[in-house]
């Protein structure tokens, strides 16, 4: 009898040597400054300090690494953070300091605070300083103010569909950017809408079930806290089209704090804001900006790094603060 190891895989539905328990364990690691990577079919976890060692190994294994930033709210100047320019610049420095250089950046919306041209200009200018030159955006509700998203689409929507949704492929991973901040109904949550759902169904229909999927959208695609509108009305419909895939990662922003959940083969993750924190669900009267002591601000803002090892069922999500 072989002695049972601590990280032994107990259930392996996908024959990929990742079971739910192992996966949950991985997600428990994420956010605590640890990195979890599946390499050579073996679960490995790394402390943040060991990341540089991993860097070379990962690159050799053909790993895809990208960074998610969110909710930069350029133009916000209230007590919760009077210097959103400074914190976004710090986020870019953080990106440039990563040992595994990310191939691109995903911004999950609320680029601007009030959809003003100069706010978008400032963000664009700061992001041009990032080592990764490609930035993929989806809009937040703050980016579509007063003009039904016309300006956003002119700036960021080239080649997209409808109010700005699109997909692309990188190193065998299929990325899907969705828009759930338009045409919201009184009393409701985020909405994808019929046209976008139809597009999504078509978009993934012909993909092999082994294709890793990354979905990104501003408002969470899971019910984080519907009382504060932190969820999407028709997300279940969207996720039903992704059931056949072995690995689906859903990346969101909007709630200005990191949170994660694993449901079957779907990993949900929300990123921190680069601008200001919001309270935990139900822990305040409203989800408005949370004022923390100035010296603590950067410890509640952050970026998220996501890595995939090509050809394997592998996912690593690491949240790092700006502190």
């Amino acid at each position: 009898m072989v002695e049972r190891k601590k990280d032994e895989i107990l259930h392996d539905h996908n024959n990929d040597r990742v079971d739910r328990r192992g996966f949950l364990k991985c997600m428990a690691w994420a956010g605590t400054g640890a990195l979890y990577v599946m390499q050579g079919g073996v679960l490995k976890s790394y402390s943040m300090s060991a990341l540089s060692k991993l860097g070379s190994t990962a690159a050799a294994a053909g790993e895809l690494s990208f960074v998610q930033i969110s909710d930069s709210h350029m133009g916000f100047n209230k007590p919760a953070n009077p210097d959103v320019v400074g914190t976004l610049k710090t986020a870019v420095e953080k990106i440039n300091g990563l040992s595994m250089a990310p191939e691109f950046v995903i911004h999950t919306g609320d680029i601007s605070h009030l959809s003003k041209p100069e706010e978008f200009d400032t963000v664009d200018q700061i992001l041009r300083g990032a080592s990764a030159k490609d930035v993929f955006f989806v809009p937040g509700e703050h980016d579509m103010l007063n003009d039904d998203g016309k300006q956003y689409l002119e700036r960021y929507g080239k080649g997209s569909n409808g109010s700005g949704w699109y997909s692309f492929d990188k190193k065998g991973v299929h990325f899907i950017g969705l828009v759930n901040v338009m045409n919201l109904k009184a009393g409701g949550l985020g909405t994808l809408g019929h046209d976008q759902l139809e597009w999504l169904e078509h978009d993934v229909k012909h993909l092999r079930s082994s294709t890793p999927i990354v979905v990104f959208a501003h408002i969470p695609l899971w019910a984080v806290y519907p009382e504060w509108g932190w969820g999407t009305e028709d997300s279940a419909q969207a996720l039903s089209y992704l059931k056949k895939f072995g690995s689906v990662a859903v990346l969101n922003g909007h709630i200005h704090q990191t949170m994660q959940k694993v449901e079957g083969n779907v990993t949900f993750h929300t990123a921190a804001s680069t601008a200001f924190p919001q309270p935990q669900p139900g822990k305040a009267e409203s989800p408005g900006p949370m004022v923390v002591p100035a010296e603590q601000l950067r410890s509640v803002l952050g970026i998220t790094t996501v890595s995939y090892v090509q050809g394997r069922h592998a996912l690593a999500v690491v949240d790092s603060t700006l502190a």
Binding site: L145, K185, G187, G229, S286, G288
Partner: protein, 117 residues
């Protein structure tokens, strides 16, 4: 005119909203009648009061007191504000009696209602 005064008093009693009416000129029929007005504050991601009852012809002014922009949009799109930043205001005059439900199109959990008598 008497009916109008009663409605105003009733509305003020029901909603506790400050109805600003120049009472002297209001009573003097020779003078032009000022437009009655009512206010709704947006605070902590909610409209306060969430429901107001006003006489027809009243101008309602919403003021955003939050650090986050909000909008005031009627469910049937009869009125629709731009995004209101902190301390920005939006006004709409309700000419006809009826019930006007509205919401914030950015945070649709925020809903309110104007009842015009």
């Amino acid at each position: 005119m008497r009916r109008g005064i009663r409605s105003l008093a009733l509305a003020a009693a029901i909603t506790g909203v400050t109805l600003i009416v120049g009472s002297a000129s209001f009573m003097a029929s020779a003078q032009p009648v000022p437009v009655p007005s009512a206010g709704v504050k947006i605070d902590n991601f909610s409209f306060g009061p969430a429901q107001i009852t006003i006489p027809a012809g009243t101008t309602v002014t919403w003021t955003n007191r939050d650090d986050i922009p909000h909008t005031v949009v009627s469910d049937d799109k009869l009125f629709k504000s731009n995004a209101l930043d902190t301390d920005d205001k939006f006004s709409y005059t309700f000419a006809k009696p009826g019930t006007y439900p509205y919401f914030c199109s950015l945070h649709p959990k925020m809903t309110g209602k104007v009842v015009v008598q």
